[in-house]
Amino acid sequence: MLKKIFKKSEPTHEEFRLVYDMFYSRVYRDVYFITKDSHLAQDALQETFVKAYKHMHRLEDRERMGAWLSTIATRTAIDVLRKRKGAREVLTEDIMIQERNMKEKGLDTLHIVEANLVKEELLESLKEIKAEYREIILLRYIHDLSIKEIADSLSINESTVKTRLHRARNKMKEKVQRDPKRQWIGGE
């Protein structure tokens, strides 16, 4: 259907409304994931669709429209954050090692409680993470883009993507390990 929509250089409003209906929810969730604020997310949503309309003719592979919109959404959300919130972000960040450790421990009652705490802490730390790291996490873990796809979409090097992922994971790991609640429950 998407191929049919864009025979011309720019879609009509009616055609673009179809795109809006199809991707409204995804784009809003993307920008909310970055901003964690409904007002900022709404601003970013509107800007994302305006930009998408203007640049739709540049999209080469229209089957990839979802991923394309997501990268516009994350970039726009970061811009909105910078413009209206100021740089109040705290670096925080990781995950996979924690996850692996938990799997090794098994699931007795204590660890279920601990797992819930870890989950809460990890998700909480996402809000404090640098917006650029949330962007990479969103594209990698939510939308399953490859490292190369992320690098291409954001016009950055693959190693920069990997570095951001590594740093994000480690910061989150540090935060969870430092949390006093977790130390008490874990008895370490």
Partner: protein, 252 residues
């Protein structure tokens, strides 16, 4: 039991679904959006395809002839030459086995241009397995800055043949340095265009030969060079002296 344990990805996807609704409704947001975009669905001006082609051809000719060929032709080694041509805020880096600079004042015959779909895939494996997979020797640097360790080895296949190996090193701060070596037994020519307002390209001496050092605005650095039948790219966000030391420690 283990399968019931939520994974990180599941947690993130769950979190992704939890959103506070926007202050305005979907339709109200739509109204704001369309008020900011021009209406194009009526009397849309369509440019004939032939006119578009002519404009494109002229643009290609202008761009091609406008590229100023500077004196930056440098022999990389016995086989590979590197040229840097600049025009305005763009710089084009070309690696080629041809001895002459690529001509930019004559357009290729479009009828003779063919494109081939190349099947590519990649696989992560140990260094030893990678060596078994390839018909060329894989070299690793003997020097690495503090705490860098080999994190992964990836082999890239082109039409089922192993043509490129990527070694990824990571340090305690999770900085990444990557070394790519690409086997190039045949004649070839490859180009990349960079924005020279944000990127600085320098010629450096590497183990007696020449290499290009490309510094990107975000602190990322690439060193590009060639040896017989092999092209190399070393990159990361380490300082450039350290990266040069790493490149020079590769004992071919």
């Amino acid at each position: 039991m283990m399968n019931e344990e939520p994974s990180l990805q599941e947690w993130l996807k769950e979190d992704y679904q939890k959103v506070e609704e926007p202050p305005h409704s979907k339709d109200e947001n739509w109204e704001t959006i369309i008020s900011e975009i021009p209406r194009t669905d009526q009397h849309q001006k369509k440019i004939p395809k032939k006119s578009l082609l002519a404009v494109a051809m002229i643009a290609v000719i202008v761009i091609g002839t406008a590229f100023v060929q500077t004196n930056q032709m440098q022999a990389f080694d016995w086989f590979v030459n590197m040229f840097v041509t600049t025009e305005g805020d763009k710089a084009q880096i070309t690696q080629t086995t041809n001895e002459k600079e690529p001509s930019t004042d004559a357009l290729p015959d479009f009828d003779n241009i063919t494109t081939n779909a190349v099947q590519e895939e990649n696989k992560e494996m140990t260094f030893e397995e990678a060596q078994d997979e390839t018909d060329f020797n894989i070299y690793a640097p003997s020097y690495l800055p503090d705490s860098y360790q080999l994190e992964s080895v990836t082999v890239f296949y082109e039409e089922a043949l192993a043509r490129e190996v990527q070694l990824e090193y990571v340090n305690n701060l999770n900085d990444v340095v990557m070394l790519n070596q690409t086997y190039q037994p045949d004649d070839f020519s490859a180009s990349k265009v960079v924005d020279n307002e944000d990127t600085e390209i320098k010629t450096i001496v590497l183990d007696g030969g020449e290499a290009r050092l490309v510094e990107f605005e975000d602190g990322h650095i690439q060193i590009i060079w060639s040896t017989p039948k092999m092209n190399w790219v070393l990159e990361g966000e380490e300082n450039k002296e350290q990266l040069i030391n790493v490149a020079e420690s590769i004992d071919y």
